[in-house]
């Protein structure tokens, strides 16, 4: 899950210190930028049981994991969420819940607090009701707002996570005001990364260079005004950086995602790498999956790199960028991430940026997350 602020300030020394459990791909929302697989329906019948998740958490803790995220889909759709959080807390994890807020109630929040949940990240689409409901594909704004207040009332530290696209970037000042008035500790203005549903909708979502520059200036103003009361994360999309992101701090370096069916993934987008096999915790121990499996070894370290990465002086810093983005946009996951200006494929990024500059917001059609869309594994 390549997100701002998610890389711990610690070298994992070969340990999966950050484990993300995607408890289910089911979700009441239909977000146009959803990062779940386009063929998410395929996995509905195969979700791990409570006992299987507990085993995964124990094995990951034995491997040195310290941070755990309960994510999805919408993790609150799992009735055993409180049981799993309690077990994780018992095992010594710092427990994070990543939720849309739909499915939470005051009673469940109290139970989660009791179970030892430490922190909640609430996904939010916009400060404007109409925009928010439209981006999420269902009427959810009022419910989310009520839940944000309820979460604070229960005393949880909280991150408001707002995926940023050209459809809400102009609302950033209002979004900051809203987050501040709700008493958030952190606001993550997370420019959408273009995989899965977001990649299908990229031409309609990617902001322009001017919009990003304006938004950055607004964030800087707000930081000066708010001081230490709220931390605002804002990172522009890698399409505009010229440098690739140090994705997951390197493949199989510190991060381990377990998909709803138990597949072990180096990140939640990795399933887009159709050339790789993703064995599950039902077939193997987590130790084998992390240390020995061909999938985790494939892009670990620097041995796999081709030029220009192989001889690049920044390879230890950015690890050649994102393997999924390299595959989706260049056809080979071992190529340099085309977000890098040194990549021979960088023109595909520049062309997408040019299309974004030329497009008028709202002129095209957005594809809402939905069932029945055949897996294309790539951008349309």
């Amino acid at each position: 899950m390549p997100r701002v602020g998610s890389v711990p300030s610690l070298d994992g020394e070969g340990k999966p210190i950050w484990v993300l459990l995607e408890l289910t791909y089911r979700c009441p929302l239909k977000c146009v930028f959803c990062s779940n697989p386009v063929d998410f329906e395929r996995y509905g019948e195969e979700e791990l049981s409570t006992a299987e998740w507990k085993r995964v958490m124990r094995e990951a803790r034995d491997l040195g994991a310290m941070q755990i995220g309960f994510s999805g889909g919408e993790p609150t759709l799992r009735k055993d969420l409180e049981t799993l959080v309690a077990e994780a807390n018992e095992l010594g994890y710092y427990t994070n819940l990543i939720t849309s807020g739909i499915g939470l109630t005051s009673r469940r929040l109290a139970a989660l607090k009791e179970a030892g949940l430490k922190h909640i990240q609430l996904g939010f689409q916009s400060s404007d009701r109409q925009t928010a409901n439209w981006l999420a594909g269902v009427d959810s704004f009022d419910r989310k707002l009520a839940m944000a207040r309820e979460i604070k009332a229960h005393g949880f530290p909280m991150v408001l996570n707002v995926p940023i696209t050209r459809h809400n970037i102009a609302q950033i000042p209002e979004i900051i005001e809203l987050a501040s008035s709700l008493g958030m500790e952190y606001l993550e203005l997370a420019n959408v990364q273009y995989y899965n549903w977001a990649l299908l909708n990229r031409d309609e979502l990617l902001p322009t260079r001017e919009e990003l520059a304006w938004a950055e200036a607004e964030v800087a103003k707000a930081r000066r005004r708010l001081g230490d009361t709220m931390t605002i994360f804002f990172v522009i999309p890698d399409y505009y950086e010229g440098r690739p992101k140090a994705c997951m701090n390197g493949w199989g370096s510190i991060h381990l995602t377990i998909a709803p069916d138990g597949a072990a993934l180096p990140c939640s987008q990795a399933r887009t790498l159709e050339t790789l096999d993703f064995p599950t915790v039902r077939e193997h121990s987590l130790e084998w999956l992390w240390r020995e499996s061909p999938t985790f070894r494939k892009y670990r370290g620097a041995e796999w790199m081709k030029e220009p990465c192989r001889s690049c002086d920044e390879r230890e810093h950015d690890f050649g960028g994102c393997r999924c983005q390299a595959l989706l946009l260049t056809g080979d996951a071992a190529n340099a991430d085309p977000a890098c200006s040194r990549s021979p494929h960088h023109h595909v990024i520049q062309e997408a940026v040019e299309r974004a500059q030329a497009a008028k917001a709202g002129s095209g059609t957005l594809i809402a997350r939905q069932g029945g869309l055949a897996s294309g594994g790539g951008g349309a």
């Binding site: 300030s9 340990k15 210190i17 310290m66 710092y94 922190h119 990240q121 530290p157």
Partner: protein
């Protein structure tokens, strides 16, 4: 040295509730865990935070650490105050209200 600091020698500091401070065997170190982040502490940092229990004044903490490390009190005091300043600025600790 300590007269220009915002650290109150008579105050008791505690770990801010957003953070979880504990020993982590797999890292052979104390760690601070917080939303989406981890800080691995060196030995002295870990020892200082272990005394941020909401019940020990900075003065008492310095005495205890000076004894524990068999070190000069002035040197320990300087190191402790510097570390507490950083920890306070990062929001890891807060002063407990006077009783």
């Amino acid at each position: 040295m300590t007269d220009q600091t915002n650290i109150d020698m008579a105050a008791c500091y505690s770990i801010h509730p957003t953070f979880l401070f504990r020993w982590e065997a797999s890292q052979d170190a104390h760690v601070l865990l917080y939303p989406e982040g981890i800080v691995k502490l060196n030995e002295t940092g870990g020892s200082i935070l272990a005394h941020c229990d909401g019940d020990t004044t900075v003065t008492a903490m310095i005495d205890a650490l000076a004894t524990c490390y068999d070190a000069k009190r002035d040197a320990v005091a300087e190191g402790v105050v510097k570390f507490l300043e950083v920890a306070h600025a990062k929001g890891w600790i807060r002063a407990e209200p006077r009783r």
